[in-house]
């Protein structure tokens, strides 16, 4: 956290290497968060947009107890909301577009793709807050404290939301499996 605070401070001062480091630290996490929210089809554009917005706004960032991660994921959340509002697109997850880890086995790639598709579909049955918690905790890998900052809620409330979100997810996925 101390290191990130120092990086953020340097980035604010115009240190491009510091910002580039923050970019590297968060790029994959933001991408996963965006994929979970809107699907893979347009996730690349939105992910890029998040970092462009962050670059444009970094000079106005003030630490003051709000970590950089929380600030960045708020930007990501706003970009996703903007995207969904402007485009009014349905979530689409083409099976042939993928980028899984080092999976070169087509079978593995298909299985992972199906997993993410199922997960996206299942999270759409959750409430907005539950979906946000799943995105921030599991895609963004934020801590409870950071998630609380992004969502402007108490840590206790986030734990409760996480509990209800996972329970709802389990229910939805079990029902899907039965069908």
């Amino acid at each position: 956290m101390q290191e990130e605070q120092s990086l953020t401070h340097r980035a604010r001062e115009g240190d491009k290497e510091a910002f580039a480091q923050l970019y590297e630290n968060y790029f994959d996490k933001i991408y996963r968060y965006v994929v979970l929210k809107i699907g893979k089809a347009d996730a690349e554009d939105v992910t890029q947009q998040v970092f462009i917005k962050a670059l444009q706004a970094i000079a106005s960032f003030k630490w003051k107890g709000i970590p950089f991660s929380a600030w960045l994921f708020r930007i990501a959340h706003n970009q996703v909301v903007d995207y969904l509002r402007k485009e009014k697109k349905m979530v689409k997850v083409p099976l042939n577009e993928s980028s899984s880890r080092s999976d070169s086995d087509p079978q593995q790639m298909a299985e992972r793709s199906l997993d993410i598709e199922r997960l996206i579909s299942a999270t759409r049955q959750l409430t907005r807050a539950q979906r946000e918690v799943i995105g921030l905790r599991f895609a963004g890998e934020l801590s409870i404290a950071e998630t609380a900052r992004v969502m402007s809620k108490s840590e206790g409330a986030i734990k409760a939301l996480q509990h209800s979100a996972i329970a709802a997810l389990r229910k939805t996925m079990s029902e899907d499996q039965k069908q």
């Binding site: 115009g14 491009k16 910002f19 580039a20 970019y23 790029f27 994959d28 991408y31 996963r32 994929v35 979970l36 690349e44 554009d45 992910t47 890029q48 970092f51 462009i52 670059l55 444009q56 993928s98 980028s99 899984s100 880890r101 992972r112 997993d115 993410i116 199922r118 997960l119 799943i134 905790r137 599991f138 895609a139 409870i144 206790g156 734990k159 409760a160 996480q162 509990h163 996972i166 329970a167 997810l169 389990r170 996925m173």
Partner: protein
């Protein structure tokens, strides 16, 4: 603590422990009375985590990083302006005037990041020309052209990304022009370095050399217009000073070479990665740009390397002179 709150806390504790590498069983041993309720939730959470273990495509990541770094370069104000000592005497006043004009224009600032499909793009191109006009050394100009080439590559990637191939050909043409200028200026710089010292000092104070590329060269790099230009004297150096390469010059040259080496690898790779995504009509231009980028960066590097060889030769020659004096 009510039961729901307790469950939420236990679930979170186990999740944190799983993320640190513990197993579900290990965690449940600490909460046997809740195992029946917590275990299926932990399995669901881990399944979700596994499904989300996706990575952005390698190509997309490389392209996004490249575009971001290009924007990052533009976003940062230039600092550490090198000292100007050999510029023409009228240059500081002109530079200050233009710097104020450029800095005071909101349109120019907004145009800085504009892409070829933007109405502000011509303003961006005009600003670049003004920057070139304010850069007086061959090395400085060459470096600026390399930076402009960098912008053009980012713009090509952007246009491909946006599915707007109509501007690609024109941007490729601009890229090729920049690269040709980099080669010409590197050759001029190489030729100038090979001239004898006394002959070198005089023409470098003239507005236009006879070397072919019509620029107003000075050996000092000027990276950007700024008011600091006024603080530096436009004093004419003594011939002895002109004979040897100043540390600032050597540093600027080293930076240019570093930039050329870096772009020689990156630019063709980025353009090649775009080949699959452009329509067939835009492919010939892109292929030509790849070939030109590979060729021109190498030519520029060769020219600067030759210059270094010349310098080295001069140094040895100087050593010989010293030996002669000793002999005398």
């Amino acid at each position: 603590m009510n039961r729901d709150k307790e469950l939420a806390n236990i679930l979170n504790d186990c999740l944190e422990r799983l993320l640190r590498g513990e197993t579900i069983e290990q965690c449940l041993q600490d909460y046997p009375q809740y195992a029946g309720e917590i275990e299926p939730l932990l399995q669901t959470a881990m399944a979700a985590k596994k499904a989300l273990a996706i990575q952005p495509g390698v190509e997309f990541k490389a392209r996004a990083r490249y575009q971001f770094q290009s924007m990052l370069k533009e976003a940062k104000p230039r600092r550490g302006l090198p000292v100007l000592s050999w510029q023409p005497r009228w240059a500081p006043a002109l530079a200050i005037g233009l710097a104020f004009l450029l800095a005071g224009s909101g349109t120019v600032a907004a145009a800085g990041n504009s892409m070829p499909d933007s109405p502000l793009y011509p303003v961006k191109l005009a600003t670049e020309q003004a920057q070139l006009g304010l850069t007086f050394s061959d090395i400085g100009k060459a470096k600026l052209y390399v930076e402009l080439a960098d912008k053009r590559v980012a713009e090509i990637a952007y246009m491909v990304n946006q599915g707007k191939p109509e501007e690609i050909e024109a941007t490729v043409q601009r890229l090729n022009n920049h690269l040709s200028m980099v080669v010409s200026l590197s050759l001029v710089e190489g030729a100038a370095a090979g001239e004898p010292p006394a002959a070198e000092a005089a023409p470098r104070l003239m507005p236009a050399p006879a070397a072919g590329v019509a620029e107003a060269p000075t050996p000092q790099p000027v990276e950007a217009p700024a008011p600091q230009l006024a603080e530096t004297p436009a004093a004419e150096p003594a011939p002895e000073e002109a004979a040897k390469e100043l540390p600032e010059q050597a540093e600027a040259k080293a930076k240019l070479k570093e930039l050329l080496k870096q772009n020689k690898n990156i630019h063709p790779a980025v353009l090649r990665a775009l080949l699959d995504e452009v329509p067939d009509s835009a492919k010939p231009a892109l292929l030509q740009a790849i070939a030109d980028a590979e060729d021109n960066y190498q030519k520029a590097l060769d020219a600067l390397d030759e210059e270094d060889d010349d310098d080295e030769g001069k140094k040895h020659h100087g050593d010989d002179d010293e030996d002669d004096e000793e002999d005398d």
